[in-house]
């Protein structure tokens, strides 16, 4: 949450003249082929037992088998539902608190110390405490995810409301805007880029700890639990297939949620945070 100046000159590398999409695809695939080849060589040489270091085709076979039997989609769905509900809770509470802190001096004085104390503690450190208080299962997992992603949302909404130019507020008031219209037409649009940034950071944070929370909270379904449970049976192939799904979901979040959000903010408001 610091604004570095001079970020505008980072553009994607210009591609060589005449480089078509095919060449680009080949260039992107090349490192994966090298690393995959190294993995295969090590796996087939038998330096490590195949159980610990399965070849790629075994991982792919497990992936297909678990997907077709519906086990993997079920785990993934439960993880996504948990992520979604925790994040929705955090967005609701976080934006409300943030805006309140930005608008009212009293609310700021009261809430800021609490936020400042809670924020520097890594969310996972609360996990055992929440497990004790709420019992194992879904409730502590969702609350913890919400708790962790609320902090960036609060901070950014608060900063956003405070960044609304005083002169806009005063001119709107001079033109006779009442509180409700001031909020709806001046404060909210002015703070929105910051709020969106906060939501993006909050979701990223939630995603980063959710998998670990699932491992600790002993939920019946979920990708984290799938990986953790597979460790008991030394099913390295299942674990790696689970990690692949986690990577895919992370990538999808990145491409379908974070980047469009950032693009939208940058394009609509011509700013970058």
């Amino acid at each position: 949450m610091y604004d570095l100046v001079e970020r505008h000159d980072i553009t994607p590398a210009p591609f060589a003249v005449g480089a078509g999409p095919l060449r680009r695809a080949a260039r992107n695939a090349f490192p994966f082929i090298v690393v995959g080849g190294m993995w295969e060589t090590v796996a087939h040489l038998g330096l490590f037992p195949a159980q610990f270091f399965p070849p790629l085709e075994a991982i792919a076979a497990v992936f297909v088998r678990l997907t077709l039997s519906g086990v993997l989609p079920h785990h993934a769905l439960d993880t996504l539902v948990r992520l979604g509900s925790g994040f929705a809770l955090a967005a609701l509470v976080g934006v409300t608190i943030g805006i309140l802190m930005g608008r009212s001096r009293r609310a700021e004085d009261i809430l800021l110390p609490l936020v400042n104390i809670g924020a520097p503690i890594p969310g996972l450190a609360y996990a055992p405490l929440f497990l004790l208080w709420f019992g194992p299962g879904n409730v502590p997992a969702v609350i913890l995810v919400a708790f962790v992603s609320a902090f960036p949302i609060i901070y950014n909404s608060w900063t956003g409301v405070k960044a609304v130019k005083d002169i806009w507020v005063r001119s709107a008031q001079a033109m006779g805007a009442d509180d409700r219209r001031l909020f709806r037409h001046v404060i909210l649009p002015g703070a929105l880029p910051y709020i969106l940034t906060g939501l993006r950071l909050g979701l990223a944070q939630a995603w980063r700890i959710l998998v670990a929370v699932e491992m600790l909270a002993a939920v019946p379904w979920g990708l984290g639990w799938l990986i953790f449970g597979a460790q008991e049976f030394l099913n390295t192939d299942v674990m790696l297939a689970g990690i692949a799904v986690i990577g895919l979901i992370g990538l999808a979040l990145e491409k379908l949620v974070f980047q469009p959000l950032e693009q939208f903010t940058v394009v609509r408001w011509g700013m970058m945070t």
Binding site: Y2, D3, I10, P113, L129, G250
Partner: protein, 261 residues
């Protein structure tokens, strides 16, 4: 201090007192078992005792050494690799696709696999911290080197700077705001990862392990005391260490300004 700030301070203190008093009242009401919600006095006593007899300090030292080892490794790999990515197109073409594939995987997802491969203990924790801290370092350094104004490079070249002088006198200072913010982000990630990794792959020391272990015995006071220590260390590194590094370097050089608010 103005009257305005005095009022803020007074309100802040009152809030904390009210929250503490509410907690204390609930804890003493016996509505929840005392094992689950110990009064603040007991938490303070536990914290004090564990600091005096040295166990808390040993746990903190174990966690800090793990986080520093993993973080140091990440900087040692991420910084040169990021610079090379920024300078050489072929390195960038090779590393960037791998980075974009690995980065969306949360570091803690690897814990069970690493446990199978390396066994419980320090290796797993340090590697997880390394994984968590590597990508922010790498990407920030890379963008930093890429963002060095080409005019500076050409000007230095025209004035006869050799490759080596160019690197130390132009590229590194030019990229420094990004590198420093990369260090900060990396450390933040590393700090989160080390607590999670210690919980999942705990050996017998470390703040994350102690919290997780205390849960088995319902030692909620130990958990809360460790939480306080974790929060303090996080606060000190974030505000004091990295804050003063930024003040002494990039703000002083006028390359970035502190965020508002």
């Amino acid at each position: 201090m103005t009257a305005d700030r005095m009022r803020s301070l007074r309100r802040g203190v009152i809030t904390l007192l009210v929250v503490a008093a509410t907690y204390e009242a609930v804890a003493r009401s016996g509505y929840f078992a005392q094992a689950l919600m110990p009064p603040l006095g007991i938490v303070a006593r536990t914290l004090f005792d564990s600091i005096v007899d040295g166990t808390m300090l040993l746990h903190a030292a174990a966690t800090l050494s793990r986080v520093l080892a993993g973080f140091g490794l990440a900087v040692a790999v991420g910084l040169p690799l990021g610079v090379m990515m920024g300078r050489f197109r072929s390195v960038e073409n090779f590393v960037l696709p791998l980075t974009s594939a690995l980065m969306p995987i949360p570091s803690l997802a690897w814990v069970p696999v690493f446990i199978l491969w390396f066994g419980l203990g320090n290796t797993v924790t340090i590697l997880i911290v390394f994984y968590a801290a590597l990508f922010p370092m790498l990407l920030n350094t890379w963008s930093g080197v890429r963002s060095v104004n080409p005019i500076w490079l050409r000007a230095a070249g025209a004035m006869g700077a050799k490759e080596r002088a160019l690197f130390w006198k132009v590229i590194i200072p030019g990229a420094s705001p990004f590198i420093i913010s990369g260090l900060r982000q990396s450390f933040l990630r590393a700090w989160i990862a080390v607590i999670g990794a210690e919980m999942l792959a705990g050996s017998d020391w470390g703040l994350g392990w102690v919290i997780f272990d205390a849960k088995e015995f319902l030692d909620t006071d130990v958990m809360l005391a460790s939480l306080i220590v974790i929060g303090l260390i996080g606060f000190v590194t974030e505000r004091l260490v990295f804050g003063s590094i930024e003040r002494a370097t990039i703000y002083r050089w006028g390359m970035a300004r502190p965020a508002k608010g």
